[in-house]
Symmetry: C2
Subunit: 249 residues, 2 copies
DNA sequence: TACTTGACGCGAACAGTGTTCGTTTATATA
DNA sequence: TATATAAACGAACACTGTTCGCGTCAAGTA
């Protein structure tokens, strides 16, 4: 039996390849790979679908929408953050290490930290980390109300700084320079700009360029974290029953 | 002389209305109005053009691209932030007031604060504010290196928190509830979620729902700001020549 | 006065976005 | 084997930022 030719006016739907089963896991992994390599901006449903050899509509059988995909990727990243067993003798240092670790983890995943903004922990790993940080603070004698506030502030601080840092890196993607050269040029231009400011109008900015532009991103993060941790410590040493710190002139 | 009818195959370009001159000022004002009413997401070049009775391509004679438009709108918002004359006797309180003012200003302009992230002050009002904050800190005896770091951290903190707060508000735009009802429902659901967490796995989160969800956004901002300001004060009282704080066990 | 130049505005088009809808295909179940 | 359900598919919708070539207008110059 010879094959009957298909009439040229008939549309046939030709699958491009044998179907490999999609899964949520596969979509999330692929999405994370794209973000890692090219940033959030490159993450479109079409792009993920293309990487998987399918069409964007197919993804919706596994994730509700793009926002859900982002949340899933974010929680995947959170899985890389370790939670130590609380030690009351060194709870402050444990907090510092854990937060520095989180900052580093986010820093290795492009601008994924943006997803953490306005994102109250409800996913498995976000809850695990929140529980862990809360445990460390309570073990160290931090009053619960303060611990709750600090959980929130730490989360904001880490995500905001990691996201901001990543935004600078994002700008290099549209450039033909490598990252180091790009950042050096960018911040060099900012130095020159500040040096060229009219001293009559901006004498302090123009006169303290080194102080303003000297420290790098990691130093800035560590400095702010130190401030927060020192402030937190003062609630343990000074606190009375309702969690109010002793007034300090 | 009667008018000669236009042949129907000829495309004529019919101006929709008498030309009112566009200007950068007009585009920025219109953009800000859209952001204020509907958030950054509603700000497209087409939308601004439509509001001005023109086409999107016309905007490019006045602004280089959308990013420049955002920067101009942002600086417009910054113009609403007052800068006091430094008073060495109450420099800390001045800083607090100025930062609270900035937070309030950003809060009244939807999610514009996002533009401030990774945005080193170079525009007129951003420079004015940076110079003002620097002046207050230096007048209060803060070492220049610390002042430079704090400028950066304050900027990040204000923009991040204002932006995060606005993200919650943004979600209400797609809802049929008014803002208060929406926020109450949202955070009520979060409370229930935390209360329903398995106590075997998340005992602290499940057991401290009130501490975690009680404070509102303004309280959280103020608490974090207080931490930073207390930390900053310690650099003035404790600082030696190189700006290092005295070690505190 | 006629011509040139620059600024401004315009419409069409490009290449892209998230998502829905109805249909087709594959798999599971009775 | 027939039916039901889940997964995948293609087309389409309504939208995005931006560029390109063209037309119009005003100002400047020969």
């Amino acid at each position: 039996m010879t094959d009957i030719p298909v009439p040229p006016w008939r549309k046939t739907r030709v699958p491009s390849a044998p179907r490999t089963a999609l899964s949520r896991e596969l979509i999330v992994s692929t999405g994370l790979r794209i973000v890692d390599a090219e940033g959030l901006e490159a993450l479109s449903m079409r792009r993920v679908a293309q990487e998987l050899g399918t069409g964007p509509a197919s993804l919706y059988a596994h994730v509700a929408n793009k926002e859900e995909l982002l949340d899933l990727i974010y929680d995947r990243v959170m899985a890389e953050i370790a939670v130590p067993e609380p030690d009351p003798e060194r709870w402050l240092e444990q907090l510092r290490e854990m937060i520095m670790d989180a900052f580093r983890v986010f820093g290795s995943h492009a601008d994924i930290a943006r997803v953490g903004l306005a994102n109250i922990p409800t996913s498995p790993n976000a809850l695990r980390i929140a529980e862990g940080q809360l445990a460390i603070m309570l073990a160290g004698g931090v009053p619960p109300r303060i611990a709750g506030l600090m959980l929130d502030r730490f989360g904001l601080y880490i995500c905001a700084d990691a996201y901001e840092s990543a935004l600078y890196v994002n700008r290099q993607r549209g450039s033909d320079k490598d990252l180091d050269a790009f950042l050096e040029e960018t911040f060099g231009q900012i130095r020159e700009f500040y040096q060229s400011l009219p001293a009559g109008r901006f004498p302090l900015l123009a006169g303290h360029v080194d102080a303003l532009t000297g420290p790098d991103g990691d130093e800035r993060f560590a400095f702010g974290l130190d401030l927060m941790l020192r402030g937190l410590a003062s609630y343990v040493q000074d606190a009375d029953a309702d969690g109010s710190p002793t007034p300090k002139g």
